[in-house]
């Protein structure tokens, strides 16, 4: 089979690697001069910053992405983070970190609760595994169970860090699917070499199996003949294919074959696409001589104004920063109503960092924001429309078509696996 992949982001490269390994002829077209999309390294002042992701896989070496890589004989080493910590104020009742703080392990999250609520939450941890809640947002569900606002704060920080969403924007069933995956696959990890370590390994698989990757090559149109996908147009040249896999999200993909989709019978699909909401976020990259976090896991910061969590990837791979330096990155979710006020959101994030790291010396390397057509996630978790399109032979992969309960790149891997099962049988 001849396959064309539009876009060399993670989803596109995973699909290309898998299909070329199965013996199909694969050609990838990427608009930018670099591959990897929002999952590769950007070299800046000697640091390996990233085009998007925090150099972190939500389920580390045991997750769906690591499994898919292993299946393809990919040898990237992924190091499991030692722990996830939560920073809480020293004194009960304080609402910020200004009077001091301490860090507690994630599994002790019930500690700040009253005895009664702690018992209730212990009960819920067991009962919800058998009978997961559904039909409301995570926040509504928490409030219906426990009166303490601590759990809402913690949920906002967890969802903000891992999904760039707030607890009132996500359905409780999606979150419980994520928890189930955390039990199943384990917590986060960092790939050696950062995001690019994985991208390089995938390209190696594609090359070794005779596939090709063209950069600076934008697809301007998807060809459809007799109702079936027939190829793409790049720089005015037609490239025929039996199968086209788009890594650009459903909406942009629909834009490449808008004539065919303008037919009345596709109106519902197009209406559904209008409802998709990409999620927005801000990453602040810090350089420091002394470690700011001191471990390889995530530090959740539920009492900050905006910052949801922070990691320090040089704890795993020191080569991501110049010798003697650390690379520490914070993430903050940006609510839809605040996307127009990014500078204010950034100021609050910077103020948070001062209070989270009082007295510590660090330099702000780069502040990166993501929304709309270059977002944190093309489809907010729980709203992904699946990998198929109304046109046979045209599939969508990537973070606009994640699998259920799949956080970020794990969701991309689940979506790619599902698509490959459909294609390869």
């Amino acid at each position: 089979m001849k396959v064309v992949v539009i876009g060399a982001g993670l989803g596109g490269l995973l699909s290309a690697a898998r299909l070329s390994k199965e013996g199909h002829t694969v050609e990838v077209f990427e608009r930018l001069p670099i591959t990897g999309g929002r999952f590769t390294n950007l070299e800046y002042k000697g640091f390996q910053l990233s085009s998007g992701a925090f150099h972190m896989l939500p389920h580390g070496p045991g997750g769906p992405l690591a499994r898919l890589l292993k299946e393809m004989g990919d040898d990237v080493r992924i190091v499991r983070s030692e722990k996830t910590m939560i920073r809480i104020p020293l004194k009960k009742g304080d609402t910020d970190y200004r009077q001091g703080f301490r860090d507690i392990p994630f599994h002790d999250f019930q500690k700040p609760l009253s005895n009664k609520d702690r018992l209730k939450s212990a009960y819920l941890i067991v009962s919800t595994r058998k009978d997961p809640p559904e039909g409301s947002t995570l926040q509504e569900w928490i409030r219906s169970q426990v009166k303490d606002e601590w759990l809402v704060k913690l949920a906002d920080s967890f969802c903000g860090w891992s999904l760039s969403m707030r607890s009132d924007e996500i359905y409780v069933e999606e979150v419980f699917e994520i928890f189930e995956n955390l039990y199943r696959f384990g917590g986060p990890g960092v790939p050696m070499g950062g995001c690019k370590g994985i991208i390089d390994a995938l390209e190696k698989v594609i090359m070794a199996n005779g596939g090709t990757i063209h950069t600076k090559s934008e697809v301007s149109k998807i060809l459809v003949e007799n109702g079936n996908t027939a190829g793409v147009v790049v720089d005015g040249t037609e490239h025929k294919a039996d199968l086209v896999i788009s890594n650009t999200g459903h909406a942009a993909t629909a834009g490449l074959c808008s004539e065919i989709l303008s037919d009345e019978k596709h109106a519902e699909y197009l209406r559904m696409l209008e409802g998709l909401r990409p999620s927005a976020g801000i990453k602040i990259c810090l350089s420091a001589e002394e470690p700011l976090i001191g471990h390889s896991g995530v530090l959740l910061t539920p009492y900050a104004r905006r910052v949801n969590g922070i990691n320090e990837v040089t704890q795993v791979d020191p080569s991501l920063a110049p010798p003697g330096k650390h690379l520490t990155m914070s993430h903050q979710h940006v609510a839809p109503e605040n996307v127009g006020k990014l500078e204010e959101e950034i100021d609050m994030g910077l103020q948070d960092l001062k209070e989270i790291f009082p007295g510590k010396k660090y330099e702000v390397l780069l502040i990166q924001s993501y929304h709309d057509s270059w977002p944190v996630n093309r489809a907010s978790s729980g709203t992904d429309p699946g990998n198929e399109t109304p046109i046979p032979g045209l599939y969508v992969v990537g973070d606009g078509a994640k699998g259920e309960g799949g956080i970020e790149v794990e969701g991309i891997a689940l979506g790619v696996s599902r698509t490959m099962n459909k294609i390869l049988g």
């Binding site: 950007l42 910053l49 500078e343 993501y370 057509s373 270059w374």
Partner: protein, 62 residues
């Protein structure tokens, strides 16, 4: 005319999301980002940054 008074021909349009990708490819360190990119006087109009922008926000004006 003094060079400084001539504005750079590189323009950032409304597509810009502030991702900083261009900053990392500019050899003159001429692009500041804070929610949006801004090109400074240090720009030598080499045009290197433009193709790296994921949302086609860097235009060369005449």
């Amino acid at each position: 005319m003094i060079g400084k008074l001539v504005e750079t021909r590189m323009k950032i349009n409304d597509n810009c999301v502030g991702c900083g990708q261009c900053t990392s490819f500019c050899r003159q360190d001429a692009i500041e980002v804070r929610g949006k990119a801004r090109i400074s006087d240090a720009c030598v109009e080499c045009g290197i940054c433009s193709p790296y922008c994921p949302v086609k926000a860097i235009e060369v004006t005449v």
